[in-house]
Structure formats: structure tokens, C-alpha cells
Amino acid sequence: MELTQKNMSTSAVGIAGAPNLRFWNTTNGKKAIMAVTGVILAGFLVGHLLGNLQIFLGRDAFNRYAENLHNLPALVWGTRVVLLLAVGLHIWSTVQLADRKSSARPVAYQKYTPQTSTYASRTMYMSGPIVAAFIVYHLMHFTFGTGGTEYHYYDPYGNVVAGFKVLPIALAYVVAMGLLSMHLRHGLWSFFQSLGLNHPAYTPKLKGAAAVIAVLIFLGFASIPVAVLLGAVKQDIF
């Protein structure tokens, strides 16, 4: 009798038997958190990019933009707090979901052949942490001035040019932006799916739009180190 009970497919489950999980404790809830925090971070990226592109307007314009920002501490700190929270929650959910992922399939396949998924979508667990590591360096580089290149608090323009004149650093930025772009390509449309929005007419368009936005963000960000390397943005117009 014992043995039978163990092999019974469906004993009574009941609401008491079904784990009474709170929304946040389900994988679905964590994905919703990732979606919301992810879209906040993506929104910041757009603003950040628009700000950065002012570098092409010249040293004065760019430095004035930076100065204006610093004169709005409420905006800057507000943004920083929201971003920190979003990043924290995004990473916290990721860590928990990564743990769930590995426990859900403890034995790997000897052969596994993906059928449809994009490289970007399968590598979110790699692109994410690499981008996070990049962000730490990026903050050291341009916010704290501890990135190993010349840094003057009053001259962000100069800092950028000095930073990107170093080929390995510029290349690292471009690569990081590539990974970020891949992460966005899957993350942006995933936002809708994870929050329950999918429609046969619009979802394919959303996926396309996500890819376009991801590429534009890559091109925008990557244009700056490339421009510095090619000498299009340089120190001596000063």
C-alpha cells in the first residue's frame, strides 16, 4: 500500500496543498518585477543616450548639459534612487530565478538543439551580469573618476575623449553596448509578455520594434567611442 501511495499521480492537492504563494514568490511574479524594473532601466538608457549624444554639439554644449544636470540635485538623486532600486530588484529577481532554473533541470541534456529562440534570448543570464559589471566600471570611469584615465570633475567632455582615446577601453565599451543591445532586444518585448500582453497582430511588430530600438541604442552609444577613436570628437576644438 505504501508504494502505491507514493506513485499515485494525483492525491488531493487542495488550496492548502497547493503552496499558498504570494505573487512575489512565484516565478511569474518575479518575471513581472523583472519586466517593470527592466523597462525603467531601458527608459533611463534612452534619456542617458539623448544626453550623451550632445557630445556631438561640442565641448561647451556637452559640459553645459552636465552642469545643468548637477544643478538639479532632486532630479539627479531621484533618478539615482529609482535606478538603484530597479537595478537591485532586477538583479535580486535574476539571482532567484537563476537558482530556480538550475534546480528545475538538475540533469542537463547530452544534446540540446535550440529550435527557434534567438541567441539574445538564450544568453540573458550572461549578457545581464556582464552588462552589470560594465556599469560598475562605467560609474568608476565617468562618475567617480577612478577608471584609470585622465579625469577632471569640471570637464566631462574632456573625460570622455581622454577615456575613449585608449583603444582597449573604447572597444570594451562597444562590446558592452553590443551585449546591452542584445539584452534589450529580448527584454523589451518580454516586458509585454511577462505582464500578460500578447496579441497575434501586435506582438510580431513589438518584437520588430524591440530589435530596432536595441540596434538604435547600440548605434547611439557606440558612436561616441568610435567617433573619439576616429578623431571626429577630439580634445583640441577646445
Partner: protein
């Protein structure tokens, strides 16, 4: 043994009402004191277990599959009949009743069939309420189609997956009761014997297919909804696991077996392609609405179909049955296909096949229209045969599909063992000698949702049931019997696999007890089956042990029972000296080759009583009376 059909008598329209009123009821507070075993979780078993759980009984439900959702009812494609008359085309309960009795070639019990037709309307209501996504019209009402040559549109369907959707409805209800704790489910568990104490069914012996544990289950009543036995032919459209073991064990414990030789052969299946073939794939009968069936006029004509000109083709159904043409009933279509192949005019590599040609319809309606109607069937055909049926005619051949025979039951669906109820395809009722298309789902659900819940209560309320435990000598004897038999299979250690025996048995059955039967062939089949069975018990090879998943061991038990059942089928076919429905005896045909019924001598249901191993069973006859539908010769000319 005395057969008492317990038909209520009186006007047929109110017979079931009267029966329900006269049946005793179990006090609601007492229901949970009763243990009920349901074996099988298909449309019949699943719906019965769910309904009995809902009523408050303590139910244990068993299935050999890994989940109750996989029972073979799931494979039914075409649809389910119901006398709703939603199409306003003249249907009624009486017409469905009439069609079913006539379609069954007057070998079914009128009162049972009438009740089936009555219940049909409730089934649709129930299924829709459960969320079964039947096809609908744009206005939101339910859609119907005409099926199997019926002259009214009374078939409800859910794409080509009607059985699946109805089963999922029953399964969901069952899972709800499991969740509520009223039904305990035992999947991957096979019933290997029935325990009868003081003449009443009181429990079963099972084998856990994962651990091999052989166990006892005590109950106040046992319900078998274990399906048909078409796999006795090895090749059939049945699922590979479908078997006769539960009903055969019950037969050997004293339940009479009704009409074992009544099997149905479905005319539109994909032909066999080689010796390795493990099962046959059915394609919906609806294909015959637009496909034309033909073979070459000349014997052994090996030209490709496109090279055979119109005047060298024989559209034999249209030629022989001008009024019904390609839409003749299943038995007639099947027999004619066999006849032309026997003449050496069959097509395909094996010459066991006929063309089902959509060329004319594609010309008339356009490929798009045909794709819209049959697209998924064409895809399936192409997936299996690698031929494109839009370009090349399909090849089809008949295959075993359904068994009308089964354990004999009375009007209350109780077998000749009190407390043993048999429902769905496992019993012999309702379809007579031939089942109409889209009626199998109807019967399974009628029995499970709307009949056995009432009749079981009547039995329990009206029967003195002493407390029994599995230490009773009957339980212990059955338990050790099963254990011994299992050991025996593992100890024979012969040289032939179970499948090779099963194939050989299937071949004998198909050749001699298939679409056409003769006394001589049946006699030879009986002796060949007996000697094959003897060889099986000497020479079968079952590797492994009992205490593990052992699929060969499972098959060995099932095939051992198929041998015995196959022999009984031949015996039944041999004693029925007439042709009716799916049973065609070559000796009994009209001059133009049609089935010739003998109502004077064979207007009865056969009920066979087991007498012991290697002893000829005794035949009892339940005389059938026709007060409403008067037997006539079926004619489709």
C-alpha cells in the same frame, strides 16, 4: 445462469423515468460509507468516477496509463450524436433511437437504445457547461454535421478532436473530485483479477506498473469501463495498451460475455505498409463525403493511378449501390473493399488497398475548399505515407476499430455478477451488430454520467453487503493466483517474444474472424489459436523481473487473455449462422452478395458463460424483442 435483462417494460418513452423512480436511493449521509471501484478512466470510467465522487461516494479509480487523461476515448475524431434537432431537420429522440436500432442490424435491446437517445441531449448540455469547445456557427450556436450516412445533421464535433475534448471535460471533473479528496486515483495500475465473495463483486487485484506491487482493493461495488478488445487482432486502430484483461478476468469469475464476435471494421484507414507495422491509423469517415472510391478494372494493374483512364476504373460502390454510393455504412464499405482486393484488383505495394480519389471534388470545388474541409486529415495522411493526396489519390483499407461485444449487462448495466457494473465499450449493449458513426462517445458518457450513478445506488441501497476485508480467503486466493501467473510468465524463459505471438494471433483472427467468416475457417482458427496458445505458455520470452517497470510482462498478461478471448470470438461467430452488421458469414448471403440476417433463429444476444479452462463455455441466449422498430432488410441499393 439465468439472464434477466430487467427491462422495465411498458411504454418505451417513459421506461427510464419509471426505472429511476422505482430504483432505491442511498441516503446522502450514507454515500460516503460506500467504497466504489471504477476501473478505466475514459469517457465511461472517467465520467462515472467523477459523477460518483460528486454524489459523495468514496471512489477509487484505476487506469494503466500514466494519467486518466490518456484513455483511448481521446482518439475519437468525428463527433458525438445527440438528438437535439438544433438544425430543425426532422431529428428527434425517436429518430436517433430508430436509426441506432436499424444501424445495429436489429441485434440491440430497444429499451437500452431508447434511453441512450434520451440521454444524448443531456450529454451535450453537460459537455458545454464543462467548457468543451464544440464547433460553433458565427451566430454563436452549436454547429452540427451529418455523419456516417445519417440523413439528419445531429453530430456535434470539436475539429477532428471530439473524443479528446469530451475526455478532457470528464478528466477535469475527475481531477476536481481528486482534489476534493472524494476520488483516489491509481494511474499506472492494472486490474488483474476480480474478487467475488458470496456471489457479489467485492474488489479487485491490481499490479502497480511502476513497482510491480500486487495489491488488493476491497469495495462494495466494482465498475468496469475498460474499453474494447480490438487489439485481439494485433493491428487495429486501438491504442497499443487497450486490452481485454479486466473484462476477461471478470468473465472467468462468472460474468457472461455478450456477442463477442461483433466487431466493427472501419473502412477508411491508412493501409499497412510493412511487417513492422504496429498499429493502424484511422482517417475520419467524413472523407467519403467528397472522395470517390475505386480500383482498376483489370487485375494486377500496376500503373500509377493517373495513368489509368476513366473507363478502366471501377467505382465499385457507386456501381453496386447507386443510391448511397460512397456513403454506404461502414460494414458494407469495408466488405466491398475486401472483395475487390480478393479479386486481385487491390492497389499499392501490398495490393491491399483501394483508392479514395479527391480529383473530381478538387475539380468541382477547388483545392482550397477541399483543404478547408479536410486539411488536417490530408496533412496526417501525407505525414504517414509521404504522398500528397491533393495530387495522388489516397489509398485506404479497412481496419478493426471497435468491438460491439463485451460483458453482458442488464438494463441497470449490471453484469451477471451482482455488484459488477460494466459501462462504455466494455459492455455489449446498445450498438447491436454494428455501431453507427459518432455513437461510441455518446454511449460512454451516457453510461458514466447518467445511468450508472442511478443504478449503482439502487444496488447498494437494496443489497445486504457484509463487511469484508482483504484477508478473506477469496481475496487471498485471487492474490496468489495473480502472483503465480506473473511468476509463470517470467519463468518460461522461451525463445519467442510476446509481440511475435500477438502478431500471429492477430493474423489468424483477421483472416478467419475478420471481415468475412466461414464455418470452416472459424473451426480451423479455433484449433490454430489453441495450439498457438499452448506454444505461448511453453515458449514465450519475458525478460526482467516483476519488481520494476516491465512492459513485456504487461503485454504477456494481456496477450495470454487475448488468446482465450479470440477463441471465444471464433466460437461465437461459428454459432451465429447468419450475417448481420459487422458479422458476415460467407455461407449466409443473398445472391448479390449482401448480408442475410436470420431473425427466426438469431434474433438474440449471445451470452457466454465460462465453465473452466479448456472446457467449452455454455451459450445462453437473450431473446430480443422489437415492439417499436420492426426488423427489415437493410438496403442501400
Amino acid at each position: 445462469m439465468k439472464l434477466d435483462s430487467r427491462i422495465p417494460g411498458g411504454p418505451i418513452e417513459t421506461a427510464w423515468d419509471r426505472c429511476r423512480f422505482e430504483n432505491k436511493l442511498v441516503n446522502p449521509a450514507n454515500k460516503r460509507k460506500y467504497e466504489v471501484i471504477v476501473v478505466g478512466s475514459g469517457l465511461a470510467g472517467g465520467s462515472a468516477a467523477a459523477t460518483l465522487g460528486e454524489l459523495g461516494y468514496n471512489v477509487k479509480c484505476f487506469c494503466f496509463q500514466d494519467s486518466p487523461r490518456r484513455a483511448h476515448s481521446i482518439a475519437a475524431q468525428g463527433g458525438i450524436n445527440a438528438a437535439k434537432n438544433y438544425q430543425n431537420d426532422g431529428d428527434s429522440i425517436y429518430r436517433l433511437f430508430y436509426d441506432t436500432v436499424k444501424g445495429g442490424d436489429f441485434r440491440a435491446r430497444e429499451y437500452n437504445v431508447y434511453r441512450l437517445a434520451q440521454n444524448s441531449v443531456n450529454i451535450i448540455d453537460q459537455a458545454v457547461a464543462q467548457g468543451v469547445p464544440f464547433a460553433r456557427e458565427y451566430g454563436g450556436t452549436l454547429a452540427n454535421r451529418s455523419f456516417g450516412g445519417a440523413q439528419v445533421s445531429r453530430t456535434f464535433y470539436a475539429r477532428g478532436q471530439t473524443g479528446q475534448q469530451l475526455l478532457l471535460g470528464a478528466y477535469q471533473g475527475l481531477e476536481r473530485q481528486i482534489d476534493a479528496g472524494r476520488v483516489t486515483m491509481f494511474p499506472r495500475t492494472e486490474m488483474l483479477d476480480l474478487v467475488v465473495i458470496d456471489g457479489k463483486a467485492r474488489g479487485i487485484i491490481t499490479r502497480n506498473l511502476v513497482t510491480g506491487a500486487i495489491e488488493t482493493h476491497v469495495a462494495d461495488a466494482v465498475i468496469l469501463g475498460t474499453g474494447g478488445y480490438g487489439n485481439v487482432y494485433y493491428l487495429s486502430t486501438n491504442a497499443k495498451g487497450s486490452n481485454c484483461t479486466a473484462i476477461w478476468r471478470a468473465y472467468k469469475r462468472g460474468a457472461a460475455f455478450g456477442n463477442p464476435c461483433f466487431t466493427q471494421i472501419h473502412p477508411t484507414c491508412i493501409p499497412v505498409s510493412g511487417d513492422y507495422q504496429s498499429k493502424l491509423t484511422l482517417m475520419s469517415e467524413s472523407l467519403r463525403n467528397d472522395g470517390r472510391i475505386w480500383v482498376p478494372l483489370k487485375q494486377g494493374d500496376k500503373r500509377s493511378p493517373s495513368q489509368i483512364p476513366e473507363n478502366e476504373r471501377d467505382y465499385y460502390l457507386e456501381r453496386r449501390y447507386p443510391s448511397f454510393g460512397n456513403l454506404v455504412p461502414r460494414d458494407v464499405a469495408s466488405r466491398n473493399a475486401k472483395a475487390v482486393c480478393d479479386e486481385g484488383r487491390g492497389v499499392g505495394e501490398t495490393a491491399l488497398g483501394v483508392y479514395l480519389d479527391f480529383g473530381a471534388s478538387i475539380q468541382r470545388l477547388g483545392e482550397d475548399k477541399i483543404r478547408e474541409r479536410y486539411g488536417n486529415l490530408f496533412e496526417m495522411y501525407q505525414r504517414i505515407t509521404d504522398e500528397n493526396p491533393y495530387k495522388v489519390p489516397m489509398r485506404i483499407y479497412p481496419a478493426i476499430h471497435y468491438t460491439m461485444g463485451g460483458l453482458w449487462v442488464d438494463y441497470q448495466l449490471q453484469s451477471t455478477i451482482p455488484g459488477l457494473f460494466v459501462i462504455g465499450e466494455a459492455n455489449f449493449s446498445d450498438h447491436g451488430a454494428n455501431r453507427l458513426g459518432a455513437s461510441a462517445l455518446m454511449q460512454g458518457l451516457s453510461d458514466g454520467y447518467f445511468i450508472v450513478p442511478y443504478t449503482l445506488g439502487n444496488y447498494l441501497a437494496g443489497t445486504q453487503l457484509d463487511k469484508v476485508s482483504d484477508s478473506a480467503p477469496e481475496f487471498q486466493a485471487a492474490l496468489s493466483g495473480v502472483q503465480d501467473r506473473t511468476k509463470q510468465f517470467l519463468n518460461i524463459n522461451g525463445s519467442r517474444t510476446v509481440d511475435s505471438f500477438h502478431r500471429e494471433l492477430g493474423k489468424i483472427m483477421w483472416d478467419e474472424c475478420g471481415m468475412a467468416r466461414t464455418a470452416q475457417g472459424l473451426e480451423s482458427a479455433i484449433s490454430r489459436i489453441q495450439s498457438l496458445r499452448e506454444e505461448f505458455w511453453q515458449n514465450v520470452k519475458v525478460l526482467g523481473k516483476n519488481e520494476e517497470i516491465n512492459q513485456s510482462l504487461e503485454k504477456a498478461g494481456r496477450v495470454a487473455d487475448f488468446f482465450e478471448l479470440g477463441e471465444l470470438m471464433c466460437r461465437d461467430a461459428l454459432t451465429r449462422n447468419e450475417s448481420c452488421g459487422g458479422h458476415f458469414r460467407e455461407e449466409y448471403q443473398t445472391p448479390d452478395g449482401e448480408a442475410m440476417r436470420d431473425d427466426d433463429n438469431f434474433s438474440h444476444a449471445s451470452a457466454w458463460e465460462y465453465q473452466g479452462d479448456n472446457v467449452t463455455p455454455v451459450l445462453h441466449k437473450e431473446q430480443l424483442e422489437f415492439h417499436y422498430v420492426h426488423p427489415s432488410q437493410r438496403s442501400y441499393k
